[in-house]
Amino acid sequence: MNRPAVKHPNQSKVDTPVTESISALQATQTDSVVDPNAPVDMPNRIDVKDLDIYYGDFKAVENVSMTINPNSVTALIGPSGCGKSTFLRSLNRMHEVISGAYVDGSVIINGKDLYGPSVDPVAVRRKIGMVFQRPNPFPTMSIADNVLAGKKLNSKRLSKSDANDLVEKSLRGANLWDEVKDRLDKPGSGLSGGQQQRLCIARAIAVEPDVLLMDEPCSALDPISTLAIEELMLELKDAYNIVIVTHNMQQAARVSNRTGFFSIEGTGKPGKLIEMDATEKIFSNPSKQETQDYVTGRFG
């Protein structure tokens, strides 16, 4: 799969390629589709440098450095226990819900280190949203209230019409609007698994995050629901920087622009990033033998 050219409304109007403006840089980037690994100079790019993740004394992930480009889908694959989920969670500090968790290294987005001394993890999570393995709408809330749950946390008073607009926009963004528009006041737990997961995506994008992290978002869903979520990811990547962890290699091949392969040497050893490259390259001609073995099904 070739990296699709980033469609941007400003693209055609660019006439000053030397400026620092985003549109100009996007134009430059679009011209250089040949190298998807080159870091693009755009907002919401994530630069991970020498990241070690610990749970107490246990080192779960060792020495990961990678650049995650915006307006694209980045997939993380690897065998169970290789630390890919832990790494994903470290991108919005969700791994810290386990007490004793800490990291060494830096994760820089828009010039700020997520692990800087004055950074509040709560603020990080408001900018970097997450969708989980199992759909988890709040069971006692209606569909509309679920969508607004994150917005209400900012404790801004939301006018009735603004709230309705946001609900519609977010549900449309998650391809769910047509299915639920007549029952917005019904509980979210009454929806099917795939609908619930799209509701969770709507809830995540309602707070307009910079980045959307997805932790095996389709592993609890049937193939048709999975297809719906994958199509949604391809739509959402125009607006968000999406990082997805998946066990399903076909899924990684279908939806992602770049793929990172994680592995471990054995139980109790830390997970490592073995290689990261354009998805097409990882699945056809990876540089490392280990990756080759995994993607061809010889281990893992």
Binding site: M94, V97, V122, R126, K127, F132, N136, F138, P139, T140
Partner: protein
């Protein structure tokens, strides 16, 4: 289509050999017997209350004080029972929820365990000890410190601001309410703590990932999930408060009638406390009348427990999913 002959079986794999079932039968008998015993005991108590209470209605009312009407007699007692219990619940529930949340979501594990242990210990103290503590320690202290403050500052609430003087001894409805609150606190705390701990990690993480602070996680994910559990815990606490005898009998200075003021020396008694106080001096029909009030208490508690059960069941099945 060809049919296959079933392969010949050796005797070991025969299905028709009997398996020893004696153990099954014995255990079924024992467990069924135990279950039946509960129902029999309950029925026996209800039967006793009914038979012994019946003469109150059929017998000659002139033997009794007052106008002899049972409902005029039991009315203030029912009022007192419910009023005292509700005050206890009102005071205990917010504290219990706060303690349960602290244990389940804030405290380090060691502190949580220790605190949980001490809370459970509160439930192990006999009620007569609570009564003695209430009348010798609590009553004198709060009647001189808290009572005047409540009357001066919260007097606009009718139950605090009355023309009748404050009970100097502290032997009033409010004091009993506080003692009962301490007594029901462990039940409500323990049940709330359990449901709060059971909050699915999934829901808490959903909230966290939206950028919720710890308090917001509690408000968004923990409390909605645990609400029905807290309510059924409060109902069980209410069940205990309704039947509480010694603490009320020791502390309260009861009078006959409906008294709303909580700080004065005139207070409605509770059914259980009234039975304990009156029984030694009663004879004949008076005893039957006390037993009849016992039947009323039995039904009251039964009803509260039934409601608690229904709330708990409805809540848990609704929150699941």
């Amino acid at each position: 289509m060809t049919t296959l002959e079933s392969p010949p079986s050796d005797n070991d794999s025969a299905f028709d050999e009997p398996v020893g079932k004696a153990g099954d039968k014995v255990f079924f008998g024992l467990s069924f017997g135990a279950a039946a015993l509960i129902l029999i005991t309950l029925a026996a108590v209800a039967f006793f209350l009914f038979i012994q209470g019946l003469p109150t209605f059929t017998g000659d009312g002139t033997e009794l004080d007052g106008d002899g009407s049972f409902f005029a007699y039991v009315g203030p007692l029912v009022f007192g029972t419910i009023y005292l219990s509700c005050i206890a619940l009102l005071l205990a529930t917010p504290v219990a929820i706060a303690v349960a949340l602290y244990i389940s979501h804030y405290a380090p594990r060691k502190v949580a365990q220790t605190l949980g242990y001490f809370i459970d210990l509160l439930a192990a103290i006999p009620s007569v000890v609570y009564g003695l503590w209430g009348i010798t320690v609590l009553a004198p202290v709060i009647s001189t410190s808290m009572f005047p403050w409540l009357r001066d500052n919260l007097g606009f609430i009718p139950v605090f601001g009355s023309d009748v003087a404050i009970a100097q001894s502290g032997r009033s409805t409010f004091t009993v309410g506080v003692v009962l609150a301490v007594m029901v606190l462990p039940i409500i705390t323990a049940i709330s703590r359990e449901v709060f701990l059971q909050t699915p990690r999934l829901h808490e993480e959903a909230s966290l990932a939206l950028g919720a602070t710890r308090w917001e996680v509690i408000r968004q994910a923990v409390i909605p999930y645990g609400r029905s559990g807290v309510i059924s815990g409060a109902m069980l606490g209410l069940g205990r408060a309704l039947g509480e005898t010694m603490a009320v009998a020791i502390i309260l200075s009861p009078a006959r009638g409906y008294f709303w003021d909580v700080l004065t020396a005139q207070n409605s008694n509770s059914i259980a406390s009234n039975i304990a106080l009156q029984f030694p001096e009663s004879s004949g029909l008076e005893v039957n009348r006390l037993i009849a009030t016992g039947l009323v208490l039995f039904l009251l508690t039964f009803g509260v427990n039934a409601i608690a059960r229904r709330v708990a069941n409805a809540g848990f099945s609704g929150a699941d999913g």
